[in-house]
């Protein structure tokens, strides 16, 4: 789960990472009140999870109440690269002497947290990594030992931060690491981490990704929401416990097992089709789950045809057939379905389907054949 900037900053504050003081706002009036409260100059910031907010006009400095009103008005409702701004964060403007970059990431390769620090803050760190890799100091932390003071010193000296902020920058890295562990994050990023003319060190932005699998241990975090980033179809799938990703095409896909579904998308694409979604019905799916999944797939009006690709292991093909029959009973879909059932109880499953004589349902015996068929059907729909 990706947190919005203001949510990340609230987590930062809880762990003692210094951030500018600010307030959350959802309306123009709230924003102006927040700005009055914080004082001028202040910054009005669009809360959407996407880079380049500044360039898109989503971050503006207000020198007075009129400007605050004007900027809040302009930013709320703005579309930034496909996301609509529903929330603002208003914070005191910071004077900036230096901009650094700091992050803690879950390095899958090294199987250890990786802490990074650079004096090239305020820009896209992937670009810095490509153009000037030595500008980023990196250090893996043994997760059993944790982040030690010497790690902070080493990164700060290696990144060549100003001598007088070696200690506070090291201390901030230690807090970011603690937060990373305590909140079970997979990414904590500060860009820019600023030094003020008074030589205070502060996080001017906050990017935090939390591990969904660990949210049960963090009920407060589990409550956090990003209204700009919630697709109604994905929410519906989530509520039904389905693993679902929305895509741009017109062929609905259902399979069992993440790898098989990914592979199905690829085979459909190779056959010239365009998948409308990724939907993993999971291992051991029962009929109800299948019925429920069909509803989710068909809630997308772009879908012109649906492919079921099942290789039964724990999943039983007869259960899948029963679920599909039930779905037809309830929803009476108008788009054609191509169904490939293989593996556990495949004979029974195919028999059930044949007997049900569902309209517009085509059985195929191979994955490749099924993909061909569904692409043809979608094209002629």
């Amino acid at each position: 789960m990706d947190l919005l900037e203001y949510q990340g900053k609230q987590v930062f504050a809880r762990h003692g990472v210094p951030v500018p003081s600010g307030r959350h706002a959802q309306t123009v009036d709230e924003a102006a009140a927040a700005a009055d409260d914080i004082g001028y100059p202040c910054v009005i910031k669009a809360q959407v999870q996407i880079g380049g907010r500044g360039k898109a006009g989503g971050i503006k400095v207000a020198q007075n109440r009129n400007e605050a009103l004007e900027h809040a008005q302009a930013i709320l409702g703005m579309d930034i690269r496909g996301l609509t701004v529903h929330e603002l964060w208003v914070e005191g403007a910071s004077e900036i002497a230096s901009e650094y970059y700091a992050s803690v990431v879950f390095d899958r390769s090294a199987k250890a947290p990786l802490v990074m620090l650079s004096t090239k803050g305020g820009m896209d760190i992937e670009e810095v990594a490509d153009s000037d890799p030595d500008a980023i100091a990196r250090l893996h932390v043994d997760p059993l030992l944790g982040f030690q003071e010497f790690h902070g010193r080493r990164l700060a000296f290696e990144a060549r931060v100003d001598d007088d902020v070696v200690r506070p920058v090291g201390a901030m890295l230690a807090k970011l690491y603690d937060l990373f562990v305590a909140e079970e994050a997979t990414l904590v990023e500060v860009n820019p981490l600023i030094v003020t003319p008074e030589r205070d060190v502060r996080a001017l932005d906050a990017k935090v990704t939390l591990d969904d699998n660990a949210l049960f241990r963090h009920p407060d975090n589990a409550e956090l929401r990003d209204p700009s980033n919630e697709d109604p179809q994905e929410r519906m799938a989530k509520e039904r416990g389905l693993t679902f990703v929305k895509l741009d095409g017109d062929i609905g896909i259902l399979g069992n097992g993440a790898g098989l579904v990914m592979s199905t998308l690829d085979v459909v694409a190779q056959a010239g089709g365009s998948p409308a979604n990724f939907l993993d019905a999971g291992g051991g799916s029962k009929a109800e789950a299948i019925t429920s999944a069909v509803e989710v797939i068909l809630s997308n009006p772009s879908v012109k045809a649906v492919l079921f690709n099942i290789f039964g292991g724990i999943t039983r093909c007869d259960e899948v057939a029963r679920g599909l029959i039930e779905a037809f009973d309830q929803i009476n879909p108008t788009v054609p379905f191509v169904v490939r059932l293989d593996g556990t109880n495949d004979v029974e499953g195919r028999k059930l389907l044949a007997e049900a004589q569902l309209p517009n349902v085509f059985a195929e015996s191979t994955m490749d054949g099924a993909a061909q068929k569904v692409v043809e059907l979608a094209a002629s729909a």
């Binding site: 993440a258 993993d280 191979t366």
Partner: protein
């Protein structure tokens, strides 16, 4: 021969008294696996159709000489169960559980690595099947027979799909290893491919990768330097959009990293044949084995 599990495997299952745990433990036993014990705290002294249940892994190992542990408990308890199995002396730990918190996995992995006493497979994996010898986990054994193709995969059903096409071509398997789809798998492709390279029965290795991470790229380098047997690969997720987790916690393209294209290129540039569909993988495997035979 085969790798990791065989007729010497003595299996202890944590979570054996749960619905799924009981079902698969008994299926594994029916297949011929020696399932010697179960662990469920508070149910020590009971049994599951003749399999004795213990309160702790330590009791189970002490009483039965179990050498392999299967973890079937819910995600909240899984890392603890893995660490307990390791502490009790299991030398192979196979974690089926899906949805374990990433930091739990990280801790378990690093403890096991530092102590150097046990090998972890999974979590979030279907287990290991050595056809004709032992089945530990949830792989449907009916689709596979003994043979000379070693399979290692990040995905369960995709493995069945590929294995099935290979079987239809008349070939069997030495061992099928599911390493799981999580960000921090206990064993990587290179660990398992190294074992297949040393296994006399295995004549060809099939690896099924997917988007996310760089395990396939590292495997490519490892294969170039250490593997003399033919390797055929498949990568799922060519059409996956960046930034979206495709079902597996580990299957995500971040920025320009972890794409299927980059993985396939890394493998092909080091002489690994990459099939573009499961069928193509099976055909490649069959043609290589045919040539070898």
């Amino acid at each position: 021969m085969s790798i990791l599990v065989d007729s010497n495997t003595k299996l202890v299952v944590s979570g054996i008294t749960g619905r799924e745990g009981t079902f698969h433990s008994l299926r594994n036993r029916d297949y011929g696996t020696q399932v010697v014990a179960g662990v469920t705290p508070g149910k020590g002294g009971q049994d599951v159709e003749g399999i004795p249940v213990f309160n702790t892994f330590h009791d189970a190992v002490a009483s039965t000489g179990a050498n392999t542990a299967m973890i079937f408990v819910p995600p909240r308890f899984a890392a603890d169960s893995i660490l307990e199995a390791e502490d009790a002396g299991a030398s192979l730990i196979i974690a089926i559980t899906e949805g374990i918190p990433a930091h739990d996995e990280l801790r378990a992995f690093n403890v096991i690595k530092k102590n150097g006493r046990a090998r972890l497979i999974g979590p979030n994996c279907p287990g290991i099947l050595s056809p004709g010898k032992a089945n530990v986990g949830i792989i449907p054994a009916a689709f596979f027979k003994e043979g000379n193709v070693g399979v290692v995969s990040r995905s369960g059903t995709l493995t069945y799909q590929i294995g099935n096409v290979i079987a239809q071509q008349g070939f069997g398997n030495s061992t099928i290893v599911g390493i799981g789809g999580d960000p921090v798998p206990g064993s990587d492709f290179i660990d398992i491919i190294g074992l297949f390279q040393d296994d006399p029965e295995t004549e060809l290795i099939v690896m099924c990768g997917e988007i996310g991470g760089d395990a396939e790229e590292r495997a490519a380098e490892f294969i170039a330097e250490n593997v003399t047997k033919p390797v055929v690969a498949y990568i799922a997720g060519f059409t996956a959009p960046p930034g979206k987790t495709m079902g597996h916690a580990g299957a995500i393209v971040s920025g320009s990293r972890g794409t299927a294209k980059a993985k396939a290129e890394a493998l092909e540039s080091r002489g690994v044949r990459v099939g573009r569909t499961p069928t193509e993988v099976a055909e490649l495997a069959a043609s290589l084995l045919g040539a070898a035979a």
